[in-house]
Amino acid sequence: MKARPIRRWLHDLAFGLSVIALVSPAALVFLWMLSLALKTEIDNVAFPPVFIPNPPTLDNFRAVFERNDFLNQTLNSVIVSFSATGIALLVGVPAGYGIAKMRAHKAAVLILIARITPGLSYLIPLFLLFQWIGLTGTIWPIVITHLVLTVPIAVWVMIGFFEGLPAELEEAALVDGATIWQAFRHVALPLARPGITVATILAFIFSWNNFIFAMVLAGRETRTLPVAVNNMLTFEQISWGPLSAAALLVTLPVVVLTLVAQKQIVAGLTQGGVKGG
């Protein structure tokens, strides 16, 4: 009678420890990033390492904002991500609706192949194209290439969403004499708001996190944040504090977004993933 609770207790303990083992790599890397960002340069290169910043300093963040044209690069990232997401929704939501209504699964396959193709393979022809039309050095090539990421994900999420909506309401509207545009605008679109939220969040994160397109296409004035932060490593090998502070600031918006909108992100990714197979 007595052995049972103990066994159970041991079992729970083992389970708890394995959960901690699963979660801690994720937690520790982010905590270490925070620690590096809040410590002085002396503490950052100390060995054995200093773990808890004592006292924490904001000097690294100050250095980032002072030296690196950081605000301008933030603005670039915001412009690029917002434009690429906005355009993707503008063309992707109706497209998802049309494809779902027409049951055009071949179009969906095209979207899938676009997702499979490595980003670099779009970059070579588009790089040459932008040179010819003289767009190099402006922000537009970066926005346009980011459409390669945002349009397929928006269309993909919206197809799945519109296919799941009951058709009766729109059919009723059509029978009552609404045009298909009106049925879309006033019946389907309001119902699709949760789907649009998912598409927006995923498109924004994909664009914000993207590195390679801006790295190749951006000039000095049009660098986005991931490119700018990577350049800090190249030029300031051992300046770990400001580097971590910058890295933290770059990833902060998506981390916050993940915390706030976890449900939508998980739904979008698993739908995209499961249907992606």
């Binding site: 022809p125 059509l174 590195f211 993933g273």
Partner: protein, 312 residues
Amino acid sequence: MPEGVTSAQAAALSGAAADKARRKRAYARHYWPFVVPAAVVVVAVIVFPWAFTLWMSLQEWQLGSGRSFVGLANYERLLTDARFHDSIWRTLYFTALAVIIPVVLGIAAAMAFNRKFPLRGLARTIFILPMMATPVAVALVWTMMFHPQLGVLNWILSQFGIPPSMWVYDQSTVIPTLVLVEVWHWTPLVMLLVLGGLASLPVDPYEAAKIDGATSWQAFRYITLPLLAPFIMVAVIIRTIDALKAFDTIYVITQGGPGTASETINIFLYLNAFAYYNMGYASAVVVVFFTLIIGLALLLLWSRERFKDNVR
């Protein structure tokens, strides 16, 4: 558009008596205007680059100097380019590790997160954070952690009495080290896919197994795993494609080095295009690389179908 609308209305009015399925099909045609804007974008930024790449791969094209048609010469050069062949093997080695390890860990994590326990929501949120974080930002943190003298990882090793590793600074350890970052980054996605599968499993087989006295390992091995197989296959396919395409973390952490020890196909492609400006040759690499990715994806899909048949 007006024309489509009026005929749609006409169809709607006369359709009351008509066969419903036929009416639906007649409707379907009128939805093409919705797709036009997206189609324009997709053709401009996706289909055009594909076609242009194919054409470019037949050219000798050094940026800055001229361009000339060379037929299949770029492909012939790829056949004999040892550096390219090495990059293929390296990519496959990296991919094999970066698929198997996250899938095994992801299944284990999904089994854990499928149970109820205190703070589960918080634990799951932290667990999926790596997947959403900006790859460049976390790659930089890993770079600092890998520092042979000052990095925190070697300090951790020393606490367990393990001699320090050179991590990404040695040819023999660089690929496994990059796989470590990839595993950290993408195990959460596998976990989510498998967790979705677990949520859809029926309860009856487990009750039957319990009555028959099966251990929990037997239930996992003979009930859960076979039922999860389709979801695991999806995770394997997605991981394979993503691992083949891995670029950001490899480029930021090693740029293909030391020497060429972590130069995967993607890095080789990048260097040819944007360091040596060899656009024709790089385009041929794109075509071969793309074929490889599609080929592996189709192979996995095909094995999934076969697997399904075998289970039935």
